[in-house]
């Protein structure tokens, strides 16, 4: 499913390198073109693709200067491709780890319709099944039916829920909800917020106010897996507005290759923690960067490709 197309395209190209009898400049250009097209059709941000191909070219040229011939070039190309892709995903940050017996707040933010509300519920369900005491707070006072949506979801997974359709100020609701659940010693308090975008200052201001009021342990940025070239700027804006700690990519049960994910992660400088793969509450997959790259490239053991 997800990324499989991209993975097979890239691995075909990489195989070509392995089986090529001669690697010269023409061949290199051809290979780089194929890689470029595969990544662009998977929505990887244009600049990332350009950087990757430039980097491969540079490495190859350096190598040429040193060795004076094209032998061993295959390895250099493969190594650089893997490295650059991994670099896009790499981050120093580690996702927040919940501690037992302590109240911790997670706020979900993202663009309109990205899948926040659905994902908060999946996230809650994930931890409920592991025996955590989890609560959901709806502070989307904007979207029609937002309160009912989360309330119905919470009921389905039997999760504690707070919301107030009469209150129009999301900051008030968030503070109240979090306060109540803290007093009741809930361990994971999940706050769902309205969808917003960087072009609307007021919406970002509101997000910052909620963030300040509840001071969450973690902010999760939810993004749609089919998103294209505009995602980087949005992700960057969210990160600069609130301290985004991790990312969840949704709707990867569809046809989209999810390459926008690579780019969004770079913008947030945060790890991806889960993938959303459907509309029901157990359609949530844990995310593992190494295996992601492996799958992306259709490779077995990639450790040999990393420079020491």
């Amino acid at each position: 499913m997800v990324l499989a197309d991209l993975g097979s395209k890239l691995s075909q190209t990489l195989k070509k390198i392995t089986s090529a009898s001669k690697i010269d400049d023409v061949f290199l250009t051809e290979v780089l073109n194929e890689i470029t097209m595969a990544l662009l059709s998977a929505d990887v941000k244009f600049e990332h693709v350009a950087r990757l191909t430039t980097s491969v070219r540079t490495q190859v040229t350096l190598f040429m200067k040193k060795e004076g011939k094209y032998t061993n070039m295959k390895k250099i190309i493969r190594q650089t491709v893997v490295e650059e892709l991994t670099n896009i995903l790499n981050t120093e940050k580690t996702p927040y780890e919940f501690k037992r017996g302590k109240s911790q707040v997670v706020m979900f933010v993202g663009l309109q319709g990205a899948g926040k509300t659905t994902t908060t519920t999946k996230f809650a369900y994930h931890y409920i099944r592991k025996g955590w005491k989890v609560a959901l707070v709806c502070c989307d006072t904007w979207r029609a039916g937002a309160f009912d949506q989360l309330q119905q979801n919470a009921a389905k997974i039997r999760c504690a829920f707070y919301g107030n359709p009469k209150e129009k100020n999301p900051v008030t609701i968030a503070s109240e909800g979090v306060e109540i659940f803290k007093q009741e010693k809930y361990e994971i308090i999940i706050v769902d917020t309205s969808g917003r975008h960087m072009q609307e200052d007021k919406l970002f201001e509101e997000m910052k106010e909620i963030n300040e009021a509840i001071d969450p342990e973690e902010n999760v940025f939810v993004m749609d897996g089919s998103i294209g070239q505009a995602c980087y700027d949005q992700a960057l804006a969210f990160r600069s507005a609130v301290n985004v700690g991790s990312v969840i990519i949704t709707k990867l049960d569809g046809h989209a290759k999810g390459g926008g994910a690579l780019s969004a992660v770079a913008a947030t400088d945060s790890p991806i923690i889960f993938l959303g793969v459907g509309e029901t509450f157990d359609d949530l997959e844990p995310f593992e960067p190494k295996s992601f790259i492996k799958r992306l490239l259709g490779l077995g053991d990639i450790s040999s490709l990393f420079k020491t």
Binding site: G228, A230, D253, G254, H255
Partner: protein
Amino acid sequence: RFTNTLKTFTGNKELTEEDLDPIMEEFSNGLMEKNVAQDIAVSLCESIKKSLMKTKTESFTTVKTTVKNALIESLKKILTPKRKIDVLKDALAAKKRGEPYKIVFIGVNGVGKSTTLSKVGYFLQKKGGLNLLLAACDNFRAGAVEQLKVHARNLQVPIHDKGYKGDPAFIAQEAITKAKKAGHDVVLIDTAGRMQDNEPLMRALAKLVHVNKPDLVLFVGEALVGNDATDQLTKFNQALIDYSYQGSDPRTIDGIILSKCDTVDDKIGASISMVYSTGKPIVFMGIGEKYKNLKKMNINTVINALLS
């Protein structure tokens, strides 16, 4: 070399592959950066290159300007609808005939179908004084019915719903019958979001469309979507054909509403991807979350944004 460069300034130069290739690549990359799907950007530039090969540049026109002009023409052609859709005019005509005008909104999850439905309703109400009935045929997603009820309340129009029970195709049918009896001019049918590869859900959608023979099938796609745009449109369209009942004329997509245009700045390339892949016109653009945030597309503005 010198004469060649000179000619690019004075014009009247026969265009060769060497002249065109680098400039085509520049434009093709530019389009992709503006979120035009990769294969579409490439094939668009290929065809422009073909048409320009061996032609001469006009006096005082550089190769670049020549290519740019050809591209503008080509984009204009793509975005200019072969069949114009005037929802207001058609709805008013139906009213004259004494029939309710039925519009179905379809698309993948979270793109803005329900919001767009209410915006189109608002438009028809304000501009045509038309009398609406909403049909809550998304009875799958939590809160979907309540969401539509809020819109009905805000627009002060009735809604037909069966809660979260029943067959959406049948709920739509009931709504249409109701509209005929009560003399509503327009029936706006909301449907659940679904992934284009989800066969059972696509079959159910085709059934709803087939059984109810709407006057207009509108595909809602978001401006944020990347390369998946083409796949979404072609597969939704194809599903309506493939899963229609034998021996009857299938109803395909009539037009597109491009939502969330306010979230992408000038990266409005999804408009090209969507129109190019099916030839269906963009009937409206969504430019915000309020009822008024719906407008007709200005082709020149879109092209300027794409080439800026």
